[in-house]
């Protein structure tokens, strides 16, 4: 039995990447198998692109960056082991983490090992707390999305609002905060329905919603379920406007619900039309990954790219790879991100990045900025 484990250990060391000594080792824990595989691939694309650009420009103070990838198979227990491997490969910092359940499980490893960990793929508010020391998060959390959506609802004068949410922590989180936001405006949802992530048929929920005759339906969930809901809702004659958070701002929506998703509104972390850099970056990104087996998705790859290129790289250049200095540099970081309304972004005391969200709308086969919502 013992020789088995020894051989296993040897093999793993080999696979950990043939990085030369003075390279900067960037680790990433993402799902390359299981349900989140497509999201993991987009994050890796964002990191790869930033990495190549930095290395092409001579690296950071002459040191090249290498990427050490750990696949957590979209499973919380395995994501603990995956992040532990990155710590064990003594990577200098980790950018990654998709799925709230996975991050809630694996961030303890980063906190314990003292590893700077920038989360770019999970939005549950409970990830960033005052106890966070090493774990940062660049995505606006669900509170931000729900609050922004409540503003849009009042902006567009929707009165009869229905909610359908996924019973996972993403959906439940959004439902609670949004309902609170509505209450502040003195509005109560006309109907609230729930579904399981793996559900395929939503006849029962949509029949309830149809009866409430809403003028807006909030979709708090992820693909492919919310696309199926939109299709089945239109089939059942519900013509209310659809609104959603980051789960909806995914380019795959246009493929899965071409007609039903028209004019659906979504909050997002990136939009091409906000500024010139975003447009130029998106073009470079699309061109770079045109042949990749995972179709390029700017909205999913941008946060990872910006975390490395705009936040980690400057700090690495400034303080090198000393973990504590790196942490303090990140904590003090402030700057503007492209693809979002222009505003000064910085980390709060729970290491949550305070940055604006963009509000976009599906028009044809693209996301367009929702007029009047992105001042």
């Amino acid at each position: 039995m013992m020789h088995r484990l020894a051989m296993l250990a040897g093999a793993l060391m080999l696979l950990a990447g043939t990085a030369s000594a003075q390279d900067i080792r960037l680790g990433t824990v993402i799902p390359l198998s299981g349900g989140g595989a497509s999201y993991g691939a987009s994050i890796q694309q964002g990191l790869d692109m930033a990495l190549r650009e930095i290395n092409a420009a001579g690296g950071i103070n002459g040191r090249k960056i290498t990427l050490d990838v750990a696949d957590d198979a979209s499973d919380p227990a395995q994501s603990v082991i995956a992040l532990q491997r990155l710590v064990n490969d003594n990577d200098d910092l980790v950018i990654g983490g998709w799925g709230s359940s996975q991050v809630l499980a694996n961030m303890a490893v980063a906190e314990r090992a003292g590893m700077p960990y920038i989360v770019v793929g999970a939005s549950n508010p409970r990830i960033t707390t005052s106890a966070n020391k090493w774990t940062f998060r660049t995505l606006t959390n669900d509170n931000g999305h729900a609050a922004r959506l409540a503003e849009v609802v009042s902006l567009l004068h929707f009165k009869k609002i229905a909610i359908i949410y996924d019973t996972n922590d993403y959906g439940v989180g959004l439902r609670d905060i949004f309902t609170a936001g509505l209450a502040k405006q003195g509005i109560k949802a006309v109907d609230v329905e729930s579904y399981q992530t793996s559900d395929k048929d939503f006849t029962a929920q949509l029949t309830h919603i149809a009866a409430a005759e809403p003028d807006a339906v909030m979709l708090f969930g992820t693909l492919p379920a919310i696309a199926a809901i939109m299709n089945q809702a239109r089939d059942q004659g519900i013509d209310a406007r659809f609104l959603g958070a980051a789960g909806l701002s995914n380019e795959a929506v246009m493929k899965l619900a071409p007609q039903a998703a028209q004019h659906a509104i979504a909050t997002a972390y990136f939009h091409v039309d906000t500024d010139a850099t975003a447009k130029e970056w998106a073009a470079r990104y699309q061109q770079a990954f045109a042949q990749a087996n995972q179709a390029p998705r700017p909205s999913q790859a941008a946060p990872a790219y910006e975390a490395l290129k705009l936040m980690a790289a400057p700090c690495l250049a400034q303080v090198g790879t000393d973990k504590d200095k790196l942490r303090l540099c990140l904590k003090a970081w402030h700057g503007t991100l492209f693809g979002l309304p222009p505003a000064e972004a910085h980390f709060d005391d729970t290491n949550q990045l305070l940055a604006p969200l963009v509000v976009e709308e599906v028009v044809g086969t693209e996301f367009k900025l929702l007029p009047g919502a992105n001042q």
């Binding site: 198998s33 349900g35 595989a37 497509s38 691939a41 019973t167 329905e193 729930s194 579904y195 399981q196 793996s198 559900d199 395929k200 048929d201 006849t203 029962a204 929920q205 029949t207 309830h208 009866a211 693909l223 492919p224 696309a227 199926a228 089939d235 059942q236 004659g237 795959a252 493929k255 899965l256 071409p258 087996n293 995972q294």
Partner: protein, 287 residues
């Protein structure tokens, strides 16, 4: 309102019935349960997607093509894999689950993301006093009826049908009467694969095509087969329809959270109260 639920429930019920038939056919012949049935259903959907997109096949030829290919794959897998798993229930169950894991993750490599299925059964919807439903539902009902009738005719009147029934009642005796038992068993697996794959194609336009499509449908169809009577074809079909309708009504009137609970509560209760199912025969245990 009620009509909407009934149509939805009936549609899902037909799918549970067809996939459930796959369990019944294999169980009747081999007293084994093929837990990879859900994944076969999913593979059928992908096969249909491939046929529709690459070759632009219209509905009927596509269904036939998928049925024929799946039948062949079913017979092949019986010869290569399942035939070596008859040692015991446990070995068969675990082997079948392993096969299901292989099929599902194999497809996940090729198709990592959910894909839309072309509306080969007609785009648009029908209106039936208040209820609105996709044209696909009509195809599901028709094809299910056709399949059930065809099965009945085959089992009752054709030579292979009688051979399959003989093997189902007792393999040894059937062998002594000149029935090629191995081929009959292969045909049974082929048939169960074909029916499940056809059900997969039928469901395509309603749902998106993704590798995990078959997991829940497989378990629900299994509960339906147990509800109706896993050794009775008619029982399984009625069990499937009943479960589909009950789920639709429970989701609407009780709660969508516990919708799935219903199917599994039925499964456990039926096994305790009437393991042979509503219509199944009691299989006497010889001492």
């Amino acid at each position: 309102m009620l009509a909407q639920l009934l149509v939805g429930g009936l549609g899902t019920g037909c799918i549970y019935a067809l996939v459930g038939l796959g369990f019944t056919l294999v169980y009747r012949t081999m007293r084994m349960v093929n837990f990879a049935q859900g994944q076969v259903f999913m593979a059928g959907t992908f096969l249909g997607l491939f046929g529709a997109q690459q070759f632009g096949l219209p509905a009927l030829p596509l269904l036939l093509l998928v049925a024929v290919i799946s039948f062949a794959v079913g017979m092949l897998l019986e010869r290569v894999v399942f035939r070596r798993l008859y040692a015991s229930h446990e070995v068969f169950v675990v082997g079948a689950i392993g096969l299901g894991v292989m099929i599902e993750n194999g497809f996940r490599i090729v198709y990592p993301e959910p894909l839309p299925f072309p509306k080969i059964f007609g785009a648009g919807v029908y209106h039936l006093h208040g209820a609105v439903f996709q044209k696909t539902y009509l195809w599901i009902l028709i094809v299910t009826l056709v399949l059930v009738a065809a099965l009945h005719v085959m089992f009752a009147y054709t030579r292979t049908g009688r051979a399959l029934r003989a093997v189902a009642s007792d393999g040894e005796i059937a062998a002594t009467m000149g029935v090629n038992v191995q081929r009959a068993i292969g045909a049974t697996f082929g048939l169960s694969f074909a029916i499940a794959a056809v059900a997969g194609v039928l469901i395509g336009p309603l749902y998106f095509v993704s590798p995990d499509l078959g997991d829940m449908v497989g378990l629900k169809a299994f509960s339906a087969a147990v509800l109706g009577g896993i050794n009775s074809v008619v029982g399984t079909i009625l069990g499937g329809l009943a479960l589909g309708l009950m789920e639709a009504l429970a989701a609407f009137y009780i709660s969508t959270d516990y919708k799935d609970l219903l199917a599994f509560a039925i499964l456990v209760l039926m096994l305790l109260v009437r393991p042979q199912g509503l219509l199944g025969r009691v299989v006497p245990v010889k001492v």
